[in-house]
Amino acid sequence: MTMDKHSLFEYAPAPESRSVVDIAPSYGLFIDGEFTDAADGKVFKTVSPSSEEVLSEVAQAGSEDVDRAVKAARKAFEKWSALPGSERAKYLFRIARIIQERSRELAVLETLDNGKPIKETRDADLPLVAAHFFYYAGWADKLGHAGYGPDPRPLGVAGQVIPWNFPLLMLAWKIAPALATGNTVVLKPAETTPLSALFFADICRQAGLPKGVVNIVPGYGDAGAALVAHPDVNKVAFTGSTAVGKAIAREVAGTDKKLTLELGGKGANIVFDDAPIDQAVEGIVGGIFFNQGQVCCAGSRLLVQESIQDELLDSLKRRLSTLRLGDPLDKNTDIGAINSAEQLARITALAETGEAEGAERWTAPCELPSSGYWFAPTLFTNVTQAHTIARDEIFGPVLSVLTFRTPDEAVAKANNSQYGLSAGIWTEKGSRILAVANKLRAGVVWANTFNKFDPTSPFGGYKESGFGREGGRHGLEAYLDV
């Protein structure tokens, strides 16, 4: 044959079409079933992190708007909570189906606004979003069988503040159980990723959801603070940083507001010498480089048994060299953009701290695009428990590699953290999985896998990773008066 013997199998660009989503030049707040301007007329711009292109201008909620939204939710609560569960279920099923029907559009939108690869929004975010609504739709008429008494009552108005890392998925985690249990909602999306929540508002209208049941108030921290502090909010749910979580806990202390917090993490991914190595490498990669590491339950600390450290690191580096970083809309992109300049600066600073404290830095060989916010997949070796990068959450594509000698030492190091959200165990030995999992103080422990999500499974943290559980039957409790 005539072709070059060693010509590379270069993948030609395979971009998902942007034309499947129609982004308006401006969006309002969604209050009482209508899109409206902010009371003070303020707007902010949302940009695409991969290109810094302005996508749209969004009304910026202030305390007056939050008050209006809470009033709308309060007004809607009476009728909504009085509906039979089977009727609420119909709305939720309808929303779930519309999400599925519009999933390609929503996936492209989320990729544009967040910067994550289309592969992830298409194959992870959107299927999980729809699954959450389907799952909680199923609970709506079975609450009497959930273990909270024969007829558990909703709380009232839920004030929900969500982060930018999984904008639509976090919305689903918050809104689906709230509506299923008969609450109404005021939700504040993050200021860097407001668009998918506003498209969700449109889906609520499309589904014929009664006015005021869901209200969306995009804005900054002040809008979130106003929502949390609002006296007519009965329930506060927050996913985000531990620092903000602590401020919210102080704010609601002494009130009768029910609170759940999903905060930071520094997940330990523990690889024993009898692990299925090739799959462990995949799990490590998925654990820390999924969504550019901007995942609260990321496996950001790799604890590897010292006897296989060299072998594992060789395999890991070889694998990281195959990651494809670039245009998030390209279907072959593995690593997309960091969500914001601010987050990029934080990741950069923490990585520099790692180097300054003597850890050894290795960066995957890849070219970074000239515009947008990018950080190449990076790992640090020679890291100890004393290093900042072993303790602080980086929330970026940076893996800290530590070693251990015995299972006891692995458990001790894994638990030696202010956080306790997730952990992973890699071993072919079933008895070791059970023994170690029982000793790990983390809300989720994965065995021979990582970052697997399912609406039926409760999710939440120990220690400074927060409290309360979302997902599964447990997730109902946060929205019921029990």
Partner: protein, 315 residues
């Protein structure tokens, strides 16, 4: 007997040493392996990359006929197709080889005289492999004597499943010796080995015994080549070369019928073993109907429209 790489002289010194070595290889988590294979299956190969992949896939085909009804006429037709897969477009690459039963090797060899297409022959009482070693060796020698460039042997799955690793090992070595200059492909019949751990062990066993290629299956059982078992074997050849410096080829066979499937396998090669294997010296497809689908896709890329089965030859 061919020499054994010094690295493995110890582990192949006794049945128990061999068993310890094979059972000491890292385990395979089936869920993770299949998830990785599926995830690579979502790669989107378009335009220039697709054109490259289609020609590469054509050049990697062992165009196969292994039927009781094979005749010289059928084999000659297959050989003609291997040399000129698309008679309307002489830029189409030839296939890598034609693959036939031993008694058809001479016919194939004659039909392919002067062409850059190898003749591969199955041997060792293919496909079951249930015959005495002498018979298997005679089968192999016959094929080589008739001019086979490559021998596709089957392992004794019964011996493997009964724990007789040494028996399987020695048999592969004996067939390798009997193959002389012909390159040896060792077929595991992965569908019968059943577990991924077994496939990894068989891969190492075959490579240590001198296989030039490791091959998934005969095409004669229910489960043949799959993305997951091929991915696993690609990991094995990658690791084997890292440890010994010896490169071994991989041949998935059976069940790969569409261009889309073939391209998924090429992505597995590219992102697992790497570009050194993206060549028909190191990677083959054991297939028959795949070729026509690749040709139709090739015509579509060239002309912009789909032709249909009447525009490719039925041989």
């Amino acid at each position: 007997m061919p020499t054994i790489a010094p690295a493995f002289a110890d582990v192949t010194s006794s049945d128990s040493a061999l068993r310890r070595f094979l059972h000491g290889l890292p385990g395979v988590d089936p869920v993770g392996l299949e998830a990785r294979a599926a995830s690579l299956g979502t790669r989107s190969i378009k335009t220039t990359a697709k054109a490259y992949a289609i020609d590469l896939a054509i050049s990697m085909i062992d165009l196969t006929t292994l039927e009781g009804a094979d005749t010289p006429g059928k084999v000659r037709a297959l050989a003609a197709k291997a040399v000129h897969p698309d008679p309307t477009d002489r830029t189409t690459p030839t296939t890598a080889a034609v693959c036939v039963y031993p008694d058809m090797v001479a016919t194939a060899k004659e039909a392919l005289a002067g062409a850059d297409v190898k003749v591969a022959s199955v041997a060792t009482a293919f496909p079951a492999g249930r015959a005495a070693l002498d018979v298997k060796l005679a089968d192999t020698r016959d094929a080589v004597a008739a001019g086979a460039d490559e021998i596709d042997m089957v392992i004794d799955r019964g011996a493997f499943l009964a724990g007789g690793y040494m028996k399987v090992f020695e048999e592969i070595r004996a067939v390798k010796e009997a193959s002389g200059p012909a390159r040896l492909k060792v077929i595991f019949e992965t569908g019968e080995l059943s577990t991924y751990d077994n496939i990894r062990r068989a891969s190492w066993l075959g490579m240590m015994a001198g296989a030039d290629f490791i091959k998934t299956s005969t095409g004669k059982v229910a489960v043949n080549a799959t993305p997951a078992n091929t991915l696993l074997m690609l990991e094995a050849v990658r690791d084997f070369r890292a440890q010994t410096g010896v490169q071994v080829g991989v041949k998935p066979a059976g069940g790969i019928r569409t261009s889309k499937d073939a391209i998924k396998f090429l992505v597995l090669v590219n992102e697992t073993a790497g570009e050194d294997w993206l060549d028909n010296h190191w990677f083959r497809f054991g297939a028959s109907s795949l070729l026509n689908d690749l040709l139709m896709q090739r015509q579509k890329l060239a002309t912009g429209r789909y032709s249909g089965p009447d525009y490719v030859t039925v041989d």
